[in-house]
Amino acid sequence: MFIWNFIKSVLEWTGLLNKRGKLVFLGLDNAGKTTLLHMLKYDGVIPQEPTQMPSSLLFALPSLFLHSSLPISSPFTVYEELKIGNLRIGAHDLGGHEEARLVWKEYYHGVNAVVFIVDAVDRMRFPEAKRELDRLLNDESIANVPFLVLGNKIDMPYAASEDELRSALGLRLATTGKGQGISRGVRPLELFMCSVIKRRGYGDGLRWLTQFF
């Protein structure tokens, strides 16, 4: 056991065991893409302006599983060091408003997975979200890429339930199950409910997603 740990740490150190993934975060404006990314990178919530231009960032996934108790709120050290674990994720955060969606397609090349976020409170916009999701699912250039759909903001009263959102997005028969493993040749697609600001749910979703890398 000791020997194995030693070999593993050497491999990690040399970068041979480092898994890398490239994700795109998509969804309508105000779904919570940037807030989620901020949470993943800095482990804290800061209200964000609507994203104007696509920005990219890197983060290590373990920060998601080990919620460190470092508060980001000391006024004199806002910028945290990034912890490098064995799964490094590069993420493209794209604006969600209608004009910004025009550039989405330029970011599909070489992505390992798509994270599509939906505001579970904003029922008026479920049809619009469904339309964008369908367009993505039918896009040839990302035909076999795993999809994680996150229903965000379940901390709010009146948020849609998982069942309701599943129907509204037309995912009833399309999802492939939250368990491990999946039959070959099928595109993994699943819906997870979450609350970014309450740090709930997205960890399960991302853990599910990264098994396909």
């Binding site: 800061i46 209200p47 231009m53 955060d93 910004a100």
Partner: protein, 697 residues
Amino acid sequence: MPLLNCEPCACTKCGAILNPYSRVNFQEKLWVCPFCLECSYLPPRLVNAADDNIPQELQACWSTVEYLLPTQSTPPAFFYVVDICMPAEELQALKESILLSITQLPSDSYVGLITFGTVVQVYDLTSTDITKSHVFSGTKDLTVEQVAEMLRLDPRGGSPLLCQVQQCDVALQTILDELVPDPWPLQEGCRALRSTGAALSTAVSILECLMPNLGARIMLFINGPCTQGPGMVLGSNLQETMRAHVNIETNTQLKHFSRAQKYYQALARRAAGKGHCIDAFMCARDQIGFLEMRDLVECTGGLTVLTDSFTQEVFKLSFSKMFDSTQRELDMAFNGILTVQTGKEFKVAGALGHCVSLERKSPSVCDYEVGIGGTCAWKMCGLNSTTTVALFYEITNQHGVEVPQGSFPVVQLRTEYTHPSGRRILRVTTHAYQWADPAKDLVDTGASFDQETAACLVARLAVHKTATEELVDTLRWIDRTLIRLVTKFATYTKGDASTFALSRNFSLFPQFMFYLRRSRFLRLFNHTPDETAYFRTVLNRETVLNMLTMIQPSLLTYQFGQPPTPSLLDYSSINPEHILLLDNYFRLVVMHGTTVAFWRSQGYQNEPSHAHFKALLEAPNKDIQDIVQERFPVPSVLICDQNSSQARFVVSQLNPSLAQQSRVDTSGGAPGENYFSDDVTLKKFMDYLMTLAVQGQ
């Protein structure tokens, strides 16, 4: 300010211009230079001056005078450099804006046109029947000599590439009408081939040959990144993506970055060397490489606009405002040179703004450098009524002889520039300051502290520091500066934070620093390097008032029966029955409270009985109009409802005083129910500051 149609009278020894602080003996016709104490004769034109006939340049009320210099006047040149790799509707909107601008130009000014895509085309503006153009490869970097030879450029004779508007407006209109998006085929999975670098270099070379040291501006219109040839910032393959802040921080995947940056820096220096200015109008939904191209604008004093699309008002209004001649003449000046002269009490350490060093040494220059230092003169190729340069001085007595308390050190700023009419003007500003030694007299020093200007100087220095050091170091530097300042000027009992108090002209400074630390200039998350570079570039040229709006956005509240009132930039200012107007310089956001939004959705404003509600809804319009009228670039205007997606433009700027933290589990009923933020609040920031200050470090 008087404009004197005569030659300025300069000191024979140090070159300082006669000013209200010079001692003059009218009987002997002598004046004593306040800088070097040299005695000189008054010029013949002032022989009649006497105590009851004091010339304007000596009157104390005119600290600034202008002299019209006797030089031949040449009208300025405007060179349009147009990207054609864009959808047809974008190009159409751009063409309309360009055509409109041509009608706004003074009819004797020169114009030129270059378009670029896969190739670079330089247009001949003299042929009216058929369009003639010279085509250059977009991948070659040609020298000035090569361009001059290929285009047969002769500085003495005119050139068909640069014509006066009155002679070529028809030809120009025909060329623009026929302009179509780049016809070269696009490869599958590739971006358009855009030769921005080659096109710019050609424009700079042409002006270098035809208009050396004369007023000229190159106006660059771009819709995407340079993808080939010199100055390439991104490969054409879609698999390659634009660099992000993370790549710059970690120095990874920066394939083209430093090469492109060096290329544009060299180009900027070439243009600045000949007195030409470069503007960048960037309308794109993704990054175009402004971070690399930033020096083009900052070294030459150009103007910038960054927005989504050429069809948007932000571009259209800003661009036409550049040539707005309602005040008789264009608000622009060319080929400026700023010279600073100081007395022996303090010396100039450097400047921060849109300028380049002329590397001119003088006794006014100190060894220590802040910003662009080591010189007493800077070139500012493009400037207008809002161009603001920050100058830093060093007190020279620190290691030697002390400046006597109560003496009046003098500073003279001389700005020579070309007016849009082609005339050369020298503006002379002379100031004397009452001396108070901060080591001895804290009260006098403190009383003259201007916290608004100080905040802006810290902002410019901080932005300047980010170019060479880690962001976290810059933030720490701001913290240290603030702590040092309040430790010195606040009143408190040592060790007791509750006794801490700041006098009136220091009281807002900590708050400015709080908002500066969380501003778009220093917080990079959710902004691309291009956006950050753009914000910093605008900050670097604007006035104190405009910079303050950028650092700490202004918030106005509108409510029934009351005039608009300025409100705290705080969550507590949100009220369902109020309308808020947030101004962060780049954007104006009107936010209707939930109740107001509900009433509006019910159509109350259309009922005569609710005229006062209609008046409330329309109340911000007047203020918005006033701001849009005077600002460059024109801000984008947005109206939204509280809690909507767009309301995040407002909420993200507010001090999160009432917000809940994501870690603290509260069960409803808390004041800021819907607001979550783990960010530092102003109160917490102040508490920290007071605790540190009273420790008396």
